[in-house]
């Protein structure tokens, strides 16, 4: 299924500035694979060899996937995904 993914400012160089993009997948892993396919380089910014990077949070609707099933979290038809990296500006 196709769902909407909200891209944070610092990753928009990969999506040519697009804030909302579509991606396909039944799990978060599949969605991220699809994002990498369409926006090469983005996957590496989100995931390292040990999984989701510790300063990147991904939410399915308003739930942090680290408290769901991580990269194996299931994606439903009306779900939306938000990627939120840590920023420190003040």
């Amino acid at each position: 299924m196709t769902i909407e993914v909200r891209i944070p400012t610092i990753l928009r160089p990969y999506t040519a500035g697009e804030k909302l993009v579509s991606a396909k997948g039944a799990t978060l892993q599949e969605v991220l694979n699809d994002l990498e396919l369409n926006y090469p380089g983005m996957g590496e910014r989100l995931i390292d060899e040990s999984g989701l990077r510790r300063f990147i949070n991904i939410y399915i609707n308003d739930e942090d996937v680290r408290f769901l099933a991580g990269l194996q979290s299931a994606i439903g038809e009306n779900d939306s995904i938000t990627i939120l990296p840590a920023v420190a500006g003040g």
Partner: protein, 396 residues
């Protein structure tokens, strides 16, 4: 979730104070009791910059009795686009003193305590001990983790906010009642991966949007009214003009507030966050030239006695503000994704520079890794160039 008031009420408000705070006093949820609690409250603001400016001004106006300010910096002209607690006449002054003067101008009943030091592991516990609540207006990861850990260890609420370009985030971290900052972001990003406001910019008024959320939450906690922003992350998008909320769970595996914490005392936060990655530091070692060296090289190149390519790795908007003559622009991202490497000349030495030297050191590591072993970068970047070589040019 509602929480009991953080502060006991002061014994009384003077006639003058009643007159000053009358618009608060006639709100039933605040009333005399709430205002007396604010009078008795001691709030510490870490930083008197973008977020600290509106936070301190509204905390002062609201009648918080004691305001502490941690700030070691001086006011720079480039601060004034957003740091509204300072003015034109304050350029060059201590930010702490400038902020104190503004606070007392807004409300002479506030007691201001200045801490003109760089907050670190050796002084944070002593400074925080006196205060009921900490408002975070800092601009770097190291200080944010330091403030979080100190607040967890001291069991104090931590009112947090963060800004970048048009986006802001805010929350209240309080391990006694919910998650801490490490539950939200267990580790900082590696140096160079997330740009700072100095690199990426920030809409000035965004500070007010997020700073006002922080003050609202501080007042609610002090007076014990409403539902605090504990366990929730507020995400503000100024371009869409939307506020969205996501949940923050208390992480049972959290390093500092979890079931079996591994951080039980303060650590070395500069080492934890790093200001420059290990690979960049290694690459820059023995491969850093000064702006004066660069000037000599450029002069020699003009005379046909030297040949090299000078690459500015900043963003196009920065290049437009000020640039070193003879530099070509290839933003850092094009090195990180590898796309710039194939276009680099193999018969010329590569010289890299950025704004102050951090990004060019990161790119230097990539370029050296790709086989350009004689590449160098310019320490201090374009800012050092302007200061030492072309002082008539602008800085930012």
């Amino acid at each position: 979730m509602s929480l009991p008031p953080l502060v006991e009420p002061a014994t009384e408000l003077s006639v003058d104070e009643v007159r000053r705070y009358s618009r608060h006093l006639i709100i039933p949820d605040v009333g005399m009791s709430g205002q007396k609690r604010l009078k008795n409250a001691k709030v510490l603001c870490v930083g008197a910059g973008g977020l600290g400016s509106p936070a301190l001004m509204y905390l002062a106006a609201a009648g918080v009795g004691t305001l502490g300010i941690v700030e070691f910096d001086t006011v720079d002209e480039s601060n004034l686009q957003r740091q509204i607690i300072h003015g034109q006449k304050d350029i060059g002054r201590s930010k702490a003193e400038s902020a104190r003067d503004s606070v007392l101008e807004i409300n002479p009943y506030v007691t201001v305590q200045l801490h003109e030091v760089r907050l670190d592991s050796t002084n944070v516990m002593e400074i925080f001990a006196d205060y009921d609540l900490i408002v975070d207006g800092t601009d770097n990861f190291a200080t944010r983790y330091l403030v979080n850990d100190a607040c967890v260890l001291l069991k104090k609420p931590y009112v947090w906010g963060s800004i970048y370009r048009f986006d802001g985030q805010a929350s209240v971290f309080w391990a006694e009642h919910g998650p801490c900052y490490r539950c939200l972001y267990p580790e900082p990003p590696p140096p160079g991966m997330v740009p700072s406001c100095a690199e990426g910019g920030v809409l000035g008024v965004l500070c007010a949007s997020i700073g006002s959320i922080q003050v609202t939450e501080a007042i609610k906690l002090l007076a014990g009214i409403g539902d605090p922003l504990v366990g929730r992350l507020m995400v503000y998008d100024a371009l869409e003009m939307t506020y969205r909320q996501v949940k923050i769970h208390k992480d049972p595996n959290c390093a500092v507030c979890g079931v079996n914490p591994t951080v039980t005392e303060l650590i070395d936060y500069e080492a934890f966050c790093g200001s420059i990655s290990d690979s960049a530091a290694e690459a820059a070692k023995d491969s850093t030239i000064s702006v004066r060296d660069l000037k000599s090289m450029l002069d020699a190149r003009d005379r046909g006695e030297d040949d090299f390519i000078l690459i500015d790795v900043r963003e196009p908007g920065e290049f437009e503000i000020v640039a070193i003559p003879g530099a070509i622009l290839i933003p850092k991202g094009e090195f990180l994704d590898g796309s710039a490497l194939s276009g680099l000349p193999t018969d010329k030495r590569i010289v890299l520079h950025c704004k102050v030297g951090g990004r060019s050191a990161e790119v230097l590591a990539v370029v050296k890794g790709a086989g350009f072993s004689d590449a160098v970068h310019v320490g201090g970047g374009v800012l050092a160039w302007v200061t030492q070589i072309e002082p008539e040019k602008p800085t930012y």
